[in-house]
Structure formats: C-alpha cells, structure tokens
Symmetry: C2
Subunit: 433 residues, 2 copies
C-alpha cells in the first residue's frame, strides 16, 4: 500500500518542480530568519535569488555537525520558542550535543515520513507494532511512535531492554511488527531460542531496522531468525529523525521522501557533487521544516542514489544501504578500510557471531589492526585447535576483502559490548595528531 | 488560566447531569461489548437500565487489579484491535501486568486531562517543560508528553537519569517547568547544589509531582530548593494514566476531571460509600473511554473528596493528597501505620534526608519495625555521638506520630534505593499467612 500515492508516485519532472519551489522558500526563510545562514551566505556571496534551478543548490555552503554544535542550543531555529512543541538532541558524547526543534507541523511532517515507511513495510491499522527503540532525547523511538499513530497501528512503546519481557509481550499481545537495531534483534532472537521459543512462530510480519550499519548478510540472518522481511529505516536527529529513507517491499534501496528531504551525493574529499549510482557522502536538505531548516547537511554517511523507477511504483530516489561513514573510514598503510568490509568477511565464515571490534594501534611506526570476534557458543566449547583454524580462516577472509593483514582474536560469546544506538565498531588508539 | 472553562467551571448540577449521561452510556457499552462486565453484572443481577441516578453506581460491583490481571491482555477492550492506537501496561512485578489500551479519541482525552492540569500549573505555549518521567510502557512520561503538546509548551522528553545532563539542559534550554517524582526532584536538587548550582537560579516556574506519595513537608522542601510552586498530579495506568487529578494554584487538593472520571470514596473494610470529607479508598470510573472502560476500580489509594467550590473558580471536586494505600497500611500490634506518618516524623527532625525504608519483622511472636533513615552529609561526618542523639530524637518523633516504638538505624547518605516510579517504602518480612 502506498501511503501518499499522489506524492510518492509523482512523475519526476513534477516532483523536481515541487522540490525547487520548496527549496527556494526554505533558503529564503533561512536567509531572512536565521542569522547563521544570513552571515554564512552573505560571506559566500550567495543569495536566495541565486537558486533558479535545483542544481543551484551547489552554490550554497555545506553545514556540518560542528556548525550545528556552535549554534547550540537554539541558534538555528527559524521560529519563536512559543511555536516549538518538542526538543530532541543527539547524545553529545563528543562536545556539545546537537539540538533539534519541532513545530506542530514539523511533528506531523516527521510522522508522515514514517507513515510512508510503515506502509512500505505493510504495517497498517490492523498491526501491533512493538517499538524497541529508546524514547527520550534520542529520536529513534518517537519517530516510529508518531508514524505508527498516523497509520493507525497499535504501538507498544516498550523501548530497549527487558529482553525476556519483550518476548513475553510479543507472544501475549500478538505483535505483528518489530522495530529494532539489527544487533538488538539478533540478541532478542538468541534469547528467545535460549528459552526454547522459535521466533519464527511469533507471527511477525515485518521488521524495521534502524540506527545502525549492517550488511546484507545480517539482514538475511534476521529474516531467517524471525521468518519475516526486514526493512531499512534511515534518518538523523539533525534533519528531523528516522524517516528520511525507508525500504519498500523490493528491498532494493531506501526511498527518500524527496518532497521533504533533498538528497545529494558528494565526494567527501573534493566536495564535488557526484552523479547517480556513484558512491559518496550523502548531503541532505530539509525542504519543509518550519522549526529548524537544515540546508546541505554533510551526513558523513556513505551511500549512492538511483533515480530509476522502482518496481513498487514509487518515483522517489532510492539510496543504497549505508556502507560506511566518511569519518569512520580507517586509513591503514594508505588503504581505506570500512567496518562493513570486516563484517562481510566475518559473515562468510561460519562459527562466529557478527559481533566484532576493530582496534587500530601504532606500536612503532607501523599501524596494526586487531579484530576481536565473538566465537559462537559451539565453537567456544570445542577447544583450542578449532579456534586456531578459525582464526586463520577469518584472517584470510579479511585480507581477501580489504587487502590488509590483521590480527584476529576470538573472544568469548557475548563478551563484546552491545549497543542501543549506532554500534561503535572501531577503537583507534593511534595518536594521529 | 482555565484550559476548558465551560467544563471546568460548570455548575455542579449541570456537571452531574453530564456525568449521569456519560455513566449510563459507559455502563451500557460495557455490558453490551465486554463479556467480563456482561457476566459480572448479570451474576449480580444489575443491568444498564438500573442506573437512573448517579448514586445507582453503587449497585455495580467493583473491579480490582486482580480482575484486570485476569483479563490480561485485552479482555476488557470494548473495541476491535484495529481501533487501538497505543498499548501501555503496569510493571507487573507481582503476577501478570495490567494492560491499558487507547483509541485515538482516548489519547486525546488523556491529553485533555493533562492540558487542564498544566494550565492549572501556569504552563502554556511559552513554556519549556522538562519531563523526567520515564517513557516506555509506564504511562507517566507519555501522559505529560501528550498534554504538553496540547497546551503547546515545548516538551523536553528527557526521561529519568543522567542527572548532571538534566541540570545542564535546564540551564542551556531555559527550562521553565519540571515534572518529576518528589524523590527524584530532591536528588536533582542535591546534585545541582553539589556542583555549586543553586536550583533557585534556574528560572523554574512550576513543578509537577507525580507517581509517588509525599507529605506537605516534602512539598515545602522541593519548593524551597527550586524556588517554585510544586503541584500534585495523580493518575493510574489502569484508568488511563496521569491526569485523573491535578492541583490548582490554591494547592488545596487535586481537581478531578469529573466529566472524564467519576470518583467515589469507600470504606476499604465495609466497602460502603463514604460522604464528602471522609477519608477512605478512592474508587474511579472512566466516563468517556472508548478502548477500555473501567467501572468502579478500587484504586487502594486513601484520600477524601470535597465538593466545595475552589478559590480558583473550578467546580470540579477535589481529592486530598494520597496519604497511604489501603494495602500499604502496616498493621503492627493492632495499630495501623502508614509510611506517610514515618515521613512526617522524619521531616520534623533536621539532619536527616527524607529517604527511608520501613522493615517489618516478627522475630518471635511480636512484630518489630525498623526504620532505616539516611543521615545528611554533614551529620554523617560529625561522628557517632551526634548520630546516637539523632537516632533517639527520630525514635521519639515516630512514637509521637504513630504511638509505636520502632528501632531507628541511621545509614549513609544516598545508600537507600531511589525509585523511578512509586517508591517502595515498606518491606514486610513477616510471614502473614
Ligand atoms: Zn520501491
Ligand atoms: Zn482550584
């Protein structure tokens, strides 16, 4: 089912006209109402009237997480605080957090994007949706919550944790849809199996993945465990929250809500715009945000866009799964490595769990990479000889994927940290100053 | 400001006519749509047409937490699951949890009750409301959240914990309203003072108390710490959530949203209805709930009602602060004692914090009560002699209040558990079977 048929299947030419109108209005409002943009655009000598076609967006300077931090807390708000109905913020583990403000209309826009996504996943008013994303300042929980209200599903706002209670509720309430991060989903599945419950028997129809990078193999694993299709949901607190892009039933990329977010792909080094199907950093612009319009935000997320019509009938561009971050890329011995490559290499091997940690050190003058991998329960009890063979196999698989020799260490099952939000896969201990 | 002037200041006669109409409709729907009520009322030989005046409600059987548990999960729903938009549940520490289901209209009714309450507290669209109640299955967080959206304040859905971050956000965001449990509020205040921040300088205008029993002295303490008025908010997940009653600026009892909840007071032993100003157990009835109408729910909370017109102009009945629970009452040596009495006795003494735990044991044939009390930071470092004097003073104060001699033990500051929801003040180790 297509939630907003008129918009989601709009011929591209009409869509682009709509985008241009909204972009012009957004730039004008930002320039007139927000001193940050006024100063930055004036310095760059670019003005609202310079936006005559969509490509003119490239004349505008980027905005980065650092800019947002410097505007902490409300420096990018375009409206009076009396119009702001809700505030969220990123976790702020490094420096000041980024704050996001929403007017009533913004909350509705946010819900609209998730409503489209839930409809892609086949979730509607007859479904019971268990939302294991955390609520609070984090946007993961609320985005899904508001979208669920809009499509009319019954939301169970259980948030993360209490895994056995989650399983009990799935059984008792008849949950048909699940929202989780892939790693929490696998954990849920593991615990259910431990308790003798086959997750496939729970009647789950669709799963929404959020807030974490993963591989196609992880998706397959989750789909096997629960016997249900798993769909990617993408978004960022800076832009609004989850809902920027969601996968349709074709599972061939995430449809970006293009009337609400304008996407670009740039080369993270040259900052030049790239064409369709070229991999680079995603840059996003809010096209209809009242409270805090963000224009040309460098997401640091690496992906590519396709504008081909999708089998589902929607015309909106699709982004591919995020395969890494331009700032998460590890450069070792001149070679760029992404955690996703390590993950891919691991998933080719049996007997290990897709839980790993990459530790980069520079003991002398040369970089060294250690990859800690959780052994599976079975392997762990089989003893040392098997473990050495597996270690060797993993090393070769990683070298195959990345071209780099790494040290592999097998660790006890469930000994590596699990993450509620985005998983932290890399510990870089080199002094890179 | 009165949020819903027409309803909140309605002459009592009109209000009672409205209540009767709504009660008749509710009983009829429950009898026709919900097998539980149909069976129970048929067995008691009472039928919808027997409700001819408000007092006829007394013909209907009570419903208890156990009944709700037996109906787990959806046995009391009056509508099809496709109409249910949200599910909550109590924590279920004893036995199966109680589930609460909401239609779209129910969510709006819930928001309406909190909107009236926030308006009583002076919170409106120019305010920034920091909600430290937990979100999730617990209703504390969401009730306030929806009510805040309705009055148009900017909600900070931070939930409990991360106390230093809470204080930072209060400073940075310019929070004007706070929602907390009294014990978490005192903790917040303690931490701020530890960090050299006087909470009075934070610009807090109003505080909403929820989910915990407290005394007038605790209110004074919180009001002194924050330099702001603190208002009581009352509610239960079974009936909908917080918002059943909220205090107005007069701070002389909580106005019950009487067009939405019908209140009665009964003697918890004889189950007879009591008159105005007589203390007993509160019994509540949903008057306009679609998803799950609950009729004559025994709350176990002890209070009394007054129907006198309030200085604020509202005509809705006021309940007094909850002073105990009919099931939390400790009977020792034939005397009924409530934790609130212990609390009152403690607050009369300086040098101790209002954090305490009551432990009831029966070492031989006689009951013994031990009260563990947290010493203040200063006292704790002053040494043994002072502590013995204080212990003695507390013992006398408690004896004065309850007529019972108890053993008093001073414990280290901050060593007793803090609670997110309702504080558990009594540990009864007697074998009472
Ligand atoms: Zn599609
Ligand atoms: Zn009043």
């Amino acid at each position: 089912m297509i939630w907003n048929e008129e918009i989601e299947t709009m011929p591209r030419q009409d869509l682009e006209e709509l985008q241009l109108k909204k972009l012009q209005a957004t730039v004008k409002r930002a320039f007139n109402e927000i001193p940050y943009y006024n100063k930055k655009y004036s310095e760059a000598e670019v003005y609202p009237e310079d936006i005559e076609c969509l490509n003119d967006i490239q004349k505008l300077p980027f905005i980065t997480k650092d800019d947002l931090r410097e505007s902490y807390p409300f420096g990018l708000f375009a409206v009076d605080m009396s119009k702001i109905k809700e505030l969220h913020s990123s976790s702020g583990t490094t420096g000041k957090p980024v704050v996001s403000g929403y007017t009533e209309k913004d909350l509705d826009t946010w819900a609209e994007t998730i409503a489209r996504g839930l409809s892609m996943m086949g979730i509607g008013e007859n479904d019971i949706l268990q939302n294991t994303h955390g609520y609070g300042m984090f946007t993961g929980g609320f985005g899904v919550h508001y979208g669920s209200h809009k499509v009319g599903a019954a939301i169970i706002p259980i948030s993360t944790g209490q895994t056995r209670r989650q399983i009990e509720i799935m059984q008792d309430f008849g949950t048909t849809g699940l929202i989780f991060t892939p790693s929490y989903g696998i954990h849920l599945g593991e615990i259910a199996l431990e308790d003798g419950i086959d997750p496939k028997t729970l009647g789950i129809k669709a799963i929404g993945f959020g807030a974490e990078m993963w591989t196609e193999e992880i998706r397959q694993r989750v789909e096997e465990i629960f016997g249900a299709k798993a769909y990617n949901i993408y978004g960022l607190t800076e832009l609004m929250g989850p809902g920027v892009g969601v996968e349709c039933i074709e599972q061939k990329g995430l449809h970006i809500a293009e009337d609400i977010y304008y996407p670009e792909i740039i080369d993270p080094n040259t900052l030049e715009n790239l064409g369709p199907n070229q991999k680079g950093e995603l840059v996003l612009t809010n096209l209809q945000r009242e409270g805090m319009p963000v224009i040309r935000f460098r997401t640091k997320d690496l992906t590519k866009l396709t504008y081909e019509k999708c089998g589902c009938g929607r015309t909106h561009a699709r982004m591919s799964r995020i395969t890494g971050r331009s700032d998460d890329m590890i450069k070792v011995k001149g070679v760029a490595i992404f955690p996703s490559q390590i993950e891919k290499a691991l998933l080719r091997i049996g007997d290990v769990e897709p839980h790993y940690l990459i530790i980069v050190t520079r003991p002398g003058t040369l970089d060294e990479i250690e990859v800690k991998v959780e052994a599976s329960q079975n392997l762990f009890f089989d003893g040392v000889k098997d473990m050495m063979a597996i270690t060797d196999k993993i090393g070769k698989s990683i070298e195959n994927e990345t071209g780099i020799r790494v040290k592999v260490t097998l660790v006890e099952p469930k000994s590596l940290p699990r993450f509620e939000g985005k998983a932290k896969r890399v510990i870089d201990e080199r002094d890179l100053h």
